[in-house]
């Protein structure tokens, strides 16, 4: 397998009003093509900074980031992103929210008018796979939080990005909806096979979904542990109650407790 995301010795400082804050120091991380990687760590450890670096929204002070063989200069244009807040546009119907990336990403934006019917079909199909069949013509504010987050996932995936960046996408949902959406994400990933970087502080979420879990230290953030999750796939929610799963969560928890103290 070839590396899809290669973060080499990256340092990042934010210049705020009260002096610089060292967000990341000497962070190194490799993610394979098609891999599901999770990044966990205590709050304020620079997980979100990592997201901005990988997508090229913020340049690092030193070190370099290589994505699919190309060094990152500026926004990468092949990434889909979703956050804790679904950030849907309330004046657009669900389907038009999902289509938004196609109005922007090349080469789709030039073809958008011509191929609109085809794109709409594609968006409808994607909405169907996340269980939102029949909701395409509703407005986002008519949907529940969990449904809005599904729409947000569809919007992140409609342009078939090679890389999906998720920043605590399920953190604001209730426990049942969250587990439901784990399965939605798992199925999407297995069906469409893209590379995922999931930032989360839910260790069970990381262990259930990811191939590899990277633990970050408190600020300045560094990767202190990379743990392979060798649970068989496809995984079912019942796996969360197996001793093997519990052991992984335990180990991660111990490591995070350790870096929080340090």
């Amino acid at each position: 397998m070839t590396a899809s995301v290669d973060i080499g010795a990256v340092t990042l400082t934010y210049r705020g009003a009260s002096g610089g804050v060292l967000a990341l120091q000497d962070t190194t991380l490799n993610i394979q093509r098609g891999e599901f990687a999770a990044v966990v760590g205590p709050s304020g450890c620079g997980k979100s900074s990592l997201m901005k670096l990988v997508t090229g929204l913020v340049p690092p002070d030193s070190g370099e980031i290589v994505i699919f063989g190309d060094k990152v200069h500026g926004p990468v244009k092949i990434a889909g992103m979703a956050f804790q807040n679904p950030n849907l546009l309330p004046w657009r119907k669900v389907i038009d929210n999902v289509l938004l990336p196609l109005e922007i990403v090349r080469p789709h934006r030039e073809q958008f008018r011509r191929r609109k019917q085809e794109y709409r079909e594609k968006a409808r199909a994607l909405l169907k796979t996340v269980g939102l069949d029949g909701f395409a013509d509703r407005f986002p504010w008519e949907l529940s939080g969990g449904m809005q987050q599904r729409v947000s996932l569809c919007r992140a995936l409609i342009h078939e990005p090679a890389l999906l960046m998720l920043d605590e996408p399920f953190a604001a949902l209730d426990a049942f909806t969250r587990e439901e959406l784990w399965c939605v994400l798992r199925d999407l990933w297995q069906k469409l096979s893209f590379t995922v970087i999931l930032v989360t502080h839910d260790l069970r979420e990381a262990a259930f979904l990811a191939d590899t879990i990277h633990v970050m230290s408190a600020r300045p953030g560094r990767i202190v542990l990379s743990k392979k999750v060798d649970l068989p796939r496809p995984r079912d929610l019942d796996i969360c109650y197996e001793p093997q799963f519990t052991n992984i969560v335990h180990e991660l928890r111990a490591k995070i407790a350790e870096v929080r103290k340090a």
Binding site: A79, L89, V105
Partner: protein, 257 residues
């Protein structure tokens, strides 16, 4: 029952105020050169309906002309100010300063430049009403969710793309909210200018009737002014709901809350 009462309550309150006013004038036998009773004001309205109608229409069209200028200029300037932080920071103190100048002090200058007539009234209405529009449009752009901007930038969107797809649509509730406020200010501007120097309009009528102690006529003109203001406010409130129904339903917009 309570629903119908709620619907009727604006009318009941208005009628109640007039009844109270009428009663006070009659019970205390208030001189009509001091405060005419509403019945006298309405009688003056009926008696002088021809000149009052003409002056009302002059005030209405000058206000609307000034307001139209304010909308165009306010949107353009609001977009420019909201576009970049540098422009925002540079222009804001100037605009605040400008807004602090009482427009009544500017009217004599406008009259010197353009002469007695409708142009100073239009310009005063414009000057007094564009500020809230600028501020609201700029606020709508400036409060855009940074995460949403990240999503779009990570797709390769330019600043212009982000403005067209997100910034400008999300500014609509702020804009339409500000129009309601601005239209009532525009009336103030017009009347101030008409009072100082004009030969038509309700402001002119008020100044003229006041100087000849025709107080019922003054109050008739004031009431007409209030009616015009309410009508235009209602029109723009309707426009607001019609165009930005989504903002009243979603929790996104601070302007709609």
């Amino acid at each position: 029952m309570t629903a119908t009462l709620e619907k009727l309550s604006p009318w009941l309150f208005t009628i109640g105020i007039f009844v109270f006013w009428e009663a006070v004038c009659r019970v205390f036998k208030v001189d009509k050169f001091i405060l005419p009773a509403p019945s006298e004001a309405f009688m003056a309205m009926a008696q002088y309906w021809r000149p009052l109608l003409r002056h009302s229409l002059v005030t209405l069209w000058t206000t609307m002309a000034g307001f139209a200028l304010a909308i165009v200029f306010g949107i353009v300037l609001g977009l420019i100010v909201g576009w970049s932080r540098t422009i925002y920071r540079g222009l804001y103190p100037v605009m605040i300063g400008f807004n602090c100048i009482p427009k009544v002090a500017v009217v004599p200058i406008l009259i010197m430049w353009f002469g007695i007539g409708e142009i100073p009234a239009i310009l005063t209405a414009f000057l007094i009403s564009f500020f809230p529009i600028v501020v609201n449009v700029a606020t709508g752009l400036a409060t855009m969710e940074p995460e949403l901007e990240d999503v779009l930038r990570a797709l390769g969107a330019s600043k212009l793309d982000i403005m067209l797809k997100v910034g400008i649509p999300r500014t609509q509730p702020y804009l339409f909210g500000s129009l309601k406020v601005a239209i009532t200010l525009a009336f103030v501007g017009t009347v101030v200018s008409e009072t100082v120097g004009a030969n038509a309009g309700l402001g002119y009528q008020i100044a003229l009737s006041g100087s000849t102690f025709q107080m019922p006529l003054v109050f008739a003109a004031l009431l007409l002014l209030a009616i015009e203001g309410i009508a235009m406010y209602a029109a723009f409130a309707y426009v607001e709901v019609y165009f930005t129904r989504w903002a009243f339903r979603s929790s996104m917009s601070a302007a709609a809350q």
